[in-house]
Symmetry: C2
Subunit: 199 residues, 2 copies
DNA sequence: CGATTCTTTGAAAACAGTCAATCTGTGTGG
DNA sequence: CCACACAGATTGACTGTTTTCAAAGAATCG
């Protein structure tokens, strides 16, 4: 049930956990299954849970005033989902998080997480790494949006998130990259032109 | 010397500090003065110090491959400067931080900050708020870059950062907003057209 | 099989970027 | 005090990338 999560925490914290610590973590999480197309978090609600993806996939997106959806995060196995901002401040989130496939999560509430941070150094360390990664990811996206053209951005994102590129349909990826699905399609086709064997 | 900083910490932590805590903070920081155009942090170096702006102003920017500069943060009085990512990981930063005016800072090293976090709840709380704000700020910029046109972005940034708009020249603001200085100029002029009295 | 989801293509339009020239104001040094 | 340099702001004309709209084709699922 929680083996994937426990492995993940051991690996990322770089610590070997005592049986007690393992049990503590195990008892702090619950299993939650979400069907394809269902929401794990709805904009306007507080992000009560933070979730670790055991299997499946999800997208985090906002809806602009104009009604367009904008994907800000994609998640597959071994990713965390939840709006950390809303999770820690307990204010309403602006994000929707939707399952793209039937998904299994290990979830934890804010209160349980607070307790676990104090009790488990490995979990605390894992959270820190996760926050740092979020910050780095935001940096990457900001720079990409500002400095790169649509095509350069496509290449940069593909290089950075190869697993996601194999997993999500192109209109989702397009929104994540910040371009139109039509533009993405054209970029992909024009890329073949650069590979002689495929001509 | 450190009164502005101490006021700031009291206000943001919402705590009244004991004379001992005050003294602890006071002794952890040093005063640093930077002349206009000098760098507080150079890309490639580790962000050894985190600084609180007592007076003056600075810009944090990266240089893209193409050589263009991209401003990611502007700071005036009561802002913090330093690359938090580099500061906490002690890895080289990708940012340059340049003083736009002669500037006075209260600076602290990583080691001193770590010690102070443990010793001063008020300081620890202030840091947490600061990190949360950084995350919110990154969210705002990402959404603005993705959902808004140049003009809408201009308006959104102006509304969010009125003080910065009064303080920095327009080519710096343009880079911060993610548009060209010429475009900014045109937007500003076209705005007058919407105000009958100025016609 | 029908329905939904996803992808591709073409043509036209718009937005913003680029380049180049000019104008303004400010401050510095002779 | 003037002349000069420098940083900043504005304008016009042009260019090109990307978006938008519309339509149709391909793939997948129940």
């Amino acid at each position: 049930m929680f083996d994937v999560l426990l492995n993940y925490i051991e690996e990322y914290s770089g610590a070997v956990m005592s049986p007690m610590e393992v049990e503590l973590i195990r008892s702090s999480f619950r299993v939650k299954k979400i069907r394809k197309k269902q929401l794990f978090l709805r904009a306007g609600e507080v992000s009560r849970y933070c979730g670790f993806v055991v299997n499946g996939s999800l997208r985090t997106y906002t809806v602009c005033e104009k009604g367009a959806e904008h994907v800000v995060k994609l998640a597959i196995e071994n990713y965390w989902v939840g709006d950390l901002g809303s999770f820690s401040s307990q204010k309403p989130s602006v994000y929707n998080i939707e399952a793209r496939e039937n998904t299994e999560l290990n979830i934890i509430t804010r209160a349980e997480a607070d307790r676990l941070i104090l009790a488990s150094p490995a979990f605390a360390q894992t959270l820190r790494i996760m926050e740092e990664r979020n910050a780095i990811s935001a940096q990457f996206m900001l720079k990409a949006y500002n400095c790169l053209s649509a095509e350069e951005r496509y290449i940069a994102f593909e290089e950075r998130y190869p697993l996601l590129f194999r997993r999500f349909p192109s209109h989702i990826l397009a929104s994540f990259i910040g371009i139109q699905k039509e533009t993405l399609s054209r970029i992909r086709n024009s890329q073949c032109e650069n590979i002689p064997e495929l001509k």
